[in-house]
Symmetry: C2
Subunit: 366 residues, 2 copies
Amino acid sequence: MASSDAAAAQAATPLLKDELDIVIPTIRNLDFLEMWRPFFQPYHLIIVQDGDPKKTIRVPEGFDYELYNRDDINRILGPRASCISFKDSACRCFGYMVSKKKYIYTIDDDCFVAKDPSGKDINALEQHIKNLLSPSTPFFFNTLYDPYRDGADFVRGYPFSLREGAPTAVSHGLWLNIPDYDAPTQLVKPLERNSRYVDAVMTIPKGTLFPMCGMNLAFDRDLIGPAMYFGLMGDGQPIGRYDDMWAGWCTKVITDHLGLGVKTGLPYIWHSKASNPFVNLKKEYNGIFWQEELIPFFQSASLPKEADTVQKCYLELAKQVRAKLGKVDGYFNKLADSMVTWIEAWDQLNPPKGAVATANGTAKSK
Amino acid sequence: MASSDAAAAQAATPLLKDELDIVIPTIRNLDFLEMWRPFFQPYHLIIVQDGDPKKTIRVPEGFDYELYNRDDINRILGPRASCISFKDSACRCFGYMVSKKKYIYTIDDDCFVAKDPSGKDINALEQHIKNLLSPSTPFFFNTLYDPYRDGADFVRGYPFSLREGAPTAVSHGLWLNIPDYDAPTQLVKPLERNSRYVDAVMTIPKGTLFPMCGMNLAFDRDLIGPAMYFGLMGDGQPIGRYDDMWAGWCTKVITDHLGLGVKTGLPYIWHSKASNPFVNLKKEYNGIFWQEELIPFFQSASLPKEADTVQKCYLELAKQVRAKLGKVDGYFNKLADSMVTWIEAWDQLNPPKGAVATANGTAKSK
């Protein structure tokens, strides 16, 4: 087969077509899907609308999608809908829960297709899939970055017993143009743009926390899905813009405990516009204080051996949040409750094998 | 001052000119120094000859250098010269000890000037100095790599209390063309070349070990010098090619304990030729087995609070090597002895402030 035929064949049967859902919080502009059409159209989209359910989100022709608004969430989860943030893009995690696929890719609607240094459009989804399908190396650092990439390998001094790596649970992609800065940094550096294309994928080592951004993120639902709770943010909550961070810290503690890997680096998307730093400061204000307590908490969090599933790990973490962070602010008691509710809701929509879900999502044992 | 004048002035007074020594093991070809002349000539060179002392190493005109052969090492260190490897480039660490400067850059004689993607010669030394003069971030991962580089910063979710970073003790540079592979990988992939220029510098997180290569390495002697012992390799020893690895593992445990940082990534050098994989296999054979025990040893090594200097840390580590690795092979008892001798020799040549060294390097208190 000539190489152009091969490329065409590959384009016709995109990677993991039937095993991956794309989860998008409210789409505020039609350009977004038009720009991504060549890459996203073969996949199923789950759109989770964060605002007024009466407003209609228009999805261009040709996309296969399902759309959930607040009324749908309330109907499907009943009282457990309380764990899903209201009027905040953190509600996207409902999409993770309602999906039936093995892999999730989530992206914000202000993220467009970036170009690599040669000027070629970057197929972000394809790179995420490559990241997820190849192992991670959380137990030892490889100085030539991802040893499973073409043209790379493990360097001298890398123990052979560790070269099988660990299953990859998370692929964290980056952003060209507008970097993901907090409000104080946005205010101080309003003109800073990220123009550095770093051609690397790497594993975040075991025991190391990182700031996980939800703008351009893929993960293996089977391996880590129940840890990807984006918390309580937005309307009625004292904090915003920490949804993905919270999920990242919980996820990293759990992947470390379960021997799974988290990768960061490629692919880049083009982050088109900076959000308003004044609005962001208001949302982040409490988080900026609280994270000084949260980081030591997560750095020292330890899970018992018996916690051998993501759900068990997450419930244990909820217990520790209540015990140790409740004194930081009452919000964390509420959050701990919601973490438990989230797992209940997850299990409701994703009953263990041998049970079936009813049409409205309530689990019923066979 | 016009900017071209400023650039000229900067070129005339290279960074840290009086504070950095370049340490090179035996130079086998004159091209090496000729190629590096624009970058190295302003600095002082310390050449440590690993082979027959009767052979003469020719250094091209115009370089400021001192050269030590085995006879010099024996004369200066006396019986303590036993800790310096014989007929192996591991002897370079004698140069770290005999230097009186704050910074060391060490490079192999088969490493040439690399080009960046724009085709410009890379000033490796300048990048190492930038790495060493800016802080590291060992306590939390920054997804946009080195936050202190131009055009970069800490991303959202990075705790503000950690943004001062930690002093950088080590800058580990990489290699284009021939990657630093072990003998088995060389044998399996004889044609693999590293052509990926990754435009990043990053901190290796606290608690994470890495394979430190001595080909293109800079460090702060004041902060970490006494840990940069390249062990017992080569003639009369059952192992080779683990000199830099050993130094890297010890160094990382100690920098982690003392709150210092280790960076890796830029700068690249051009590694011109692969060493013979059959010869390498013979040298590495034992190391490949032993490293499976060494990594868990270093991963679990813990230093007491009282170990508040590099020397104290290193002597404590020597004790643990003897206690825990002696049973792996008798070699490690000999190595533990040499680690102690190395520190004695270091203190002999680098007497504490308030003491003076005599001409032949023996310390004498004031």
